[in-house]
Amino acid sequence: MLILFQLWEDMKMALTAIFTNKLRSILTTLGIIIGVMAVIAIVSIVNGMNRLFVDELLNLGGDVFMVQKMDIIITSNDQFRENMKRPDIRSDDLKNLIEACPAVSYISPNVYNFKRIKYNEKTSQPLMVRGTDLFQQYMKSQNVIAGRYLSFSDNTHARLVCVLGFDVAENMFPSEDPVGKTVKLGSWKMTVIGVMEKQGDMFGQSLDNYVIVPLKSFLKIYGFRRSLEVSIKAKEGRFDEAQDQVIGYFRRIRRVPYSDSNNFTVTTNENLINVYKQTTAVAYAVMIGVAAISLVVGGIGIMNVMLVSVKERTREIGIRKALGAKQLNILWQFLIEAVTLCLIGGGIGLTIGILIALLVRTNTPLPAAIPLWTYGVGFGIPCAVGVTFGVVPAYKASQLDPIDALRYE
């Protein structure tokens, strides 16, 4: 306790020194700010990608593939522009699909949203709300453990009913049977008709955090102008054939010229995993690169400004030594100052990083989330940088000869 108190005292002293040179201090910590910010922003975005990816995988069983409007990963502006021009996939497009593709056994349309649900006073975390139909349950071998799944007439009548993922049921109804209860989705009252079997988690993300509602009800609640994602299950042993037929079908109904490439995207489990591995590897490499460079640059900046500060305050050091400061006292003073400077930068970086994550979350479909450990990083990295790059100037200060320091002009 006493040591902590003393540390706080020392940091307050450091703050006074730092605040006498506000602009210089801010400029110096820019590298740390950018470094910490990059780590926080990228970690939270990758985390969001994990979640999205998990949600994608939720759709895909072994011999299932998906057709959707946009590519899963967009890496260039041109690709983005091309993707935006593509036509939406609408319910009408799917009417004749099964007849046209003999290798396909079922199809099921999907739309998604991230929303919270409410039960009495309780509000859930944001979770995936999926609008779909009864065939979705055949895409994966996953059973209903209570109540029932969506029925054909739930969809035709756009009934306000929902099926809960296992974790949602457990969290929202810890001691009651959810079936028959009414939860609120925004201002819409939805009757719970069933609960799905537990699937566990992947990449630390629960696979059971979702609510399923009839597609028609979803469109009524959230609006019709959205593109469907179609899950398609191939007949036994006819996976590649089914893909070819479906691609042909979409090119035909969209009248894509022979020489043009598809204006829709077909996704299988396998290419999903490949794409995902590539992007996260790139994201992490970029993160490590950006963070490392800016932290080293930031560290050198800190070292430089501390060297200047030691030089400027040579007389102060002399005075302190003349009044009884030991070498260790001076070393400590300047080391604390370097660390405090870095912590300020870290704090600013952390704040900006969190803001970026929030912006991404509210303005893109990525459910960016900040894992707790990044807060540790936001403090740990600046401390390490402060000590590493502060020790040389602090040592120099501590070794000054008292009388030379006092005479310094």
Binding site: E9, T20, G318, K321, A325, K326, Q327
Partner: protein, 212 residues
């Protein structure tokens, strides 16, 4: 401190500054004993080496040759930590140019020696306030040096030198660059403090003999 009557004992001390080719011999074989409770003034024209000697006595500088024993201890043999302790506890130094921290308040300046004695904040505050009060500056505690007059700055320096109850007070030209009235004020302050110092031996550098 030991029972040794001689507090300061320097023998044949020389200080030579090497200025490129030229050697400046600021002190040439000075020997001096100062006892406890002794009040000594060292006088000499400017450039005669008074400040140089004072810095050596205050354990801030080291002689080129000769020995300096402080209460029986050979100063050249002491390590940084011991020297810092002596500068902190045994010596109160009033510099010719005061050497106050420009960015700190009078109070904080007076607190500095107490920080390095490891005193807790509350105690520090109290002791520093008492010291400031003794020099008549309690109402200027929160002022920075540039908000104080020359005489007031000197009194802050005096308060700082006295705050830790040092055994030896070294004052470099205490009346040198101030008008006579303030000089007198300060002398009175010193004599007042002397009463309180059983163990104190005060050195003055170049006190105007007429005033003594």
């Amino acid at each position: 401190m030991s029972k040794n009557r001689v507090a300061i004992e320097i023998v044949d001390v020389e200080k030579v500054y090497q200025m490129g080719e030229v050697q400046v011999r600021a002190l040439r074989g000075v020997s001096l004993n100062i006892d406890r409770n002794e009040y000594v003034a060292i006088m000499g024209p400017s450039g005669s080496g008074k400040s140089t000697l004072m810095n050596i006595l205050g354990c801030l500088d080291t002689p080129t040759r000769g020995s300096y024993r402080l209460v029986g201890e050979e100063v050249s043999k002491l390590n940084d930590s011991r020297l810092a302790h002596i500068r902190n506890r045994e010596i109160g130094f009033i510099f010719q140019t005061f050497n106050l921290l420009a960015r700190a308040t009078a109070l904080h300046n007076v607190e500095l020696p107490l920080i390095y004695s490891g005193r807790r904040k509350k105690e520090r505050r109290k002791m520093a306030m008492i010291a400031l009060d003794r020099v008549g500056l309690a109402d200027r505690a929160e002022h920075k040096p540039n908000e104080l007059s020359g005489g007031q700055r000197q009194r802050v320096a005096i308060a700082r030198a006295l705050v830790n109850n040092p055994a030896i007070i070294l004052a470099d030209e205490p009346t040198g660059n101030l008008d006579t009235k303030i000089g007198m004020e300060i002398l009175e302050l010193h004599s007042h403090r002397m009463v309180g110092f059983r163990d104190g031996s005060i050195e003055f550098d170049k006190i105007n003999p007429n005033r003594l």
